[in-house]
Symmetry: D2
Subunit: 343 residues, 4 copies
């Protein structure tokens, strides 16, 4: 028997409705690069879903190139991007931000998040130093929602962050690679419109939320969108057959599919969480989304490894590890039940 597999939320293909749609239109002839009817339709639906009818939308390919392309489009040459030290741009992008010429300025994370006060304090200290012109100037702020720890900002936290950003003229960029799982979380007070209202640019993750590939970048601050197509092209963030991404988002934003399929990840994650906790496993953090972290002893880990695949996060000491179980739009409740039973 194959092991159970909770390694990541990008192990399966895509929602069957998408595959069916790709089949139906397979021999239609479309213009390239995202200038097609599907991208247009999907963009309209996303604009509507986030309540910003004037927003500019671009369909990109994957997280790392989306992040680095947005950042290089916004920053002046000597500017850097503020990020939690656990932010994806700070850790797992192989230097893509630096390759575009910019420093990632690390702020200590708290449950994967940073807060308005940290930004304010950083800027205060930065400009207090009379030598600031010799240092990398903070030129924008990057956060992810959900974070890399599966945690979520509250609406008030986003509003505070964005207020500080506006005060200091720092564009705020929200990485929504797993946005669906944040929106579908129980008890969150952050809706898609709140995301759109409280940043300059964000993206709606497709790769991890039901699509084969693709992210939808939404510029609510349309000034920042200038030249973005060419910067995307230069940065490897344009797909020749752009409609393949457009059509997927068109499906995802029809009939509330994006939220519906995200809800499955939440339901299975919550069941997994309470099941494993019931078996005595200790959550590493209180995550309301599809990534669930547990601190396990070496012995526990060994036992789990016999019947399940999971992600490794960090090793707090010699005797313990923090491991990650991911659910997704595709996880079946029976897999979760099997995991709990085996344990």
């Amino acid at each position: 028997m194959d092991k159970l597999n909770f390694v990541s939320d990008y192990m399966e293909g895509c929602h069957p409705l998408i595959l069916k749609r790709l089949e139906v239109i397979n021999f239609d002839k479309n213009p390239g690069y995202g200038y097609d009817r599907y991208c247009e339709s999907a963009a309209d639906k996303i604009r509507k879903a986030c309540g910003h009818p004037e927003a500019k939308i671009h369909f990109t390919i994957g997280g790392t190139s989306t992040n680095s392309t947005i950042i290089r489009a916004i920053l002046r040459p000597s500017f850097g991007v503020l990020s939690a030290d656990t932010g994806h741009v700070a850790t797992h992008e192989a230097g893509a931000i630096e390759a575009s010429g910019h420093k990632v300025l690390h702020l200590p994370e708290k449950e994967g998040k940073i807060c308005a006060e940290q930004i304010e304090e950083y800027l205060h200290m930065f400009y207090e130093d009379s030598n600031w012109e010799h240092e990398v100037r903070p030129g924008m702020v990057y956060i992810s929602h959900p974070t890399e720890f599966g945690t979520l900002y509250k609406k008030k936290e986003l509003q505070d962050l964005y207020a500080v950003c506006r005060e200091y003229h720092l564009p705020l960029f929200i990485d929504g690679a797993r946005l669906g799982y944040g929106l579908a979380a129980r008890d969150t007070d952050v809706r898609m419109k709140d995301i759109a209202d409280n940043c300059d640019v964000f993206y709606v993750g497709g790769t991890k939320v039901g699509a084969l590939l693709g992210e939808a970048v939404v510029f609510t601050n349309t000034d920042l969108e200038q030249d973005f197509f060419t910067i995307r092209k230069m940065s490897g963030a344009v797909l020749a057959k752009g409609w393949i991404i457009g059509v997927q988002f068109d499906v995802l934003f029809t009939d509330d599919n994006y939220l519906k399929i995200s809800k499955n990840a939440i339901d299975t994650a919550m069941a997994l969480r309470s099941g494993l906790t019931g078996k005595g496993l200790v959550p590493y953090m209180d995550s309301p989304t599809n990534q669930q972290f547990f601190t396990v002893s070496n012995e526990e880990e060994k036992r789990i490894a016999e019947f399940a695949n999971y992600g490794f996060m960090l090793k707090p000491d010699e005797d313990h590890s923090v491991i990650r179980f991911c659910t997704s739009w595709a996880t079946r409740m029976s897999e979760v039940e099997a995991l709990i039973t085996h344990f």
Copy 2:
């Protein structure tokens, strides 16, 4: 009625066998980033097809980022890449090569190609100049096969080019975005093994030859492959769900599909060529592949525009244009016949 459409070779989705395969494996769980069984199987088949069992294979997303990633992986910081002035890297990549820090050194093209003598002469003149250390040093050579004009190198031309490159220690990189259409051309003496034997790295185009997306990079000079995964990641040339590309190449390199479907593009292109020539249109260049260029008067162009879409290439004078008709693996002969009939 919709207009006939010969704008490009990336207007349709993918070969139906691919879609079917994607459907079959849709809910299998695969490891990310290309470390899956499909990529492995596809790589084996490609290694076999090109007769280099030791070659290193990477699956990337699209042409521009594949080109810039390979080039930045090979070149030393102050080095540049020699290319025909009509080469894709020299013209239509929005500065992707320069964004990676490197200059494209232009050589005058002849039917879209450059030759061994040009390389030799360039290097001779370069090192004759006692100030060469103040200039961008040629560090590799880029050619495309087929070229941007649809033309093909002969085997002898490739061998001569590669001999000069080896003599001067310049890696030779062949952009095979349309490689299938080159291999399937009538009367060409260049087989896939000849490509592999006569360069250090090339790629097998998928996007334009039957896949939804994806290119297969083949390093026959495996020394150059060092660190390539991380450089790809940094450059936006890694797909999270890498197996989506792997499985497509696995299909394309099963049962000789890659050549078979490419042959359709050639058959339709040759029919289009002889049909339009028969109607009095003047070919701009002698292209044996799926891109066919014609020099048309403004009046002719106006007439064609009424019933067909095509690509614009250049305007040799006020009264004429050079326009392009593309066929592909998906073009039906009936479309070509309709085009000729309408004219």
Copy 3:
């Protein structure tokens, strides 16, 4: 006896008044990085000399880093700089512009110059191509005055160029590495104020015109100066002991020294030109400044090489070379006389 030496205009140290001034202030304590009284005084004098009391001035180190720093400060990520194909940024800067991420877009030179019509035609053709978003967008124009061939723009030519640039919102940058020799030329109608009036940013060359090192960058379009100090720092264009450059420009812009010492280069160049022409040498181009080019036969070159050093420019055919003789602020008329006599 040492050979006569006309290789370049940066073979000697600096004007004796500068050395004397450096000696006088040697043990004064100055703040670093250009925030000192000498830089301030020099900037005031330069502002006055060019008739732009609001201009922003920065003192940089040498030509290549000054060029690349200005260009990277102005261009958006995917933009390029238009330059004559013989422009210094296009040829002799080892890829510094590309290393900052930008393509140099070549225009065919005419006597080292480009003209308003060329810019206009380039832009016209660029935006006519419906694929322009896939190409490097021209974002500024670079010219040098004097050019790399020693030639000069006329005032009307500059005005026309700048008019086109403003119409298309392209900043115009004038490389004045040899500006003094342009201003001191006989019969030129371009004064320093004309330079300043007809561009967005230019620099006043020090390295080649009497200083040990240093260039004075003048932003007449002060919007472009934003963040320039930090971009300079990042680009290696800030000297710790900035006053060493400031004090040199302070001397050069006192008592009209900059023009006075430049005049010596012109006087000796004109004598050299008429002397060698009188001996039968054929000027390659009509240069009114300190660089004089001659087309010589191999035999002539061999003869000259016995008693003089000169610069090599290009080889129009197997039997001839174009060689360069440079004079400078430091050239003595007796050296020129000796050259002519020996020939």
Copy 4:
């Protein structure tokens, strides 16, 4: 009366012997870019001084561009440089390293230093993570000697560091912007040969140790020197009148001048240290070189500010600051005495 001034070690011009030498050779004609007799002679003397007759030497302009040029010449595209989080490359270079495409990987400093165990642990943890290919790979190590806190490595510490670096094939680069002050320190067991023996490349600081400008880069690992001139040119680290730097190092490495003049900085620093400590000021750290840090109360700082300029370092709490007094080759003992007396 002017205030006493201990702000930095680059406030005065240069050693009088240098100025005199510049005067003597002012009208000699030299080839450009460092290919002159003075650079050759200086390089020979430096090779001798460090006991590496085969070392390759380059003369560069200032610290920031020297650091970024060396780092970009060594690192592969996706690699980063390990540095103490207080290292100059990590803090005060306005993003120059990132602008060259590379991430600075921060290690927590201890008295401004990092140690062999930290490197080993970092590498161990890095390669333990199965996702390391998605992260910036450590490709070299940067340290400064003296550090930014004026502290020094012991010979054994350098040897241990270099042993780890060699084991992991990480080139070790030592920033010697203040090398003279490290070598002249009392009780140090690190001589110039120890520096040269225990790294792959280092530089001998001129700007802060008696020269107007200039640093001497020494490659003891000559493999790393490949293409370095062109990379320097591209990076703004070549001076047209290169001999101006060469002649300064020629003076500094004649008659042991470099060490002799450095000794003055040490003597005055030690007097300053013991004098201020005697007056009750508390040293922040035990620095044996020319930078002396003290933790002062706000009231103390206010008093000092009345009669002396100094550098600001950091603010450990609301009521205290850490301030820096610098001496240099040019500091007179009478200045130190006046400082102590005033306090």
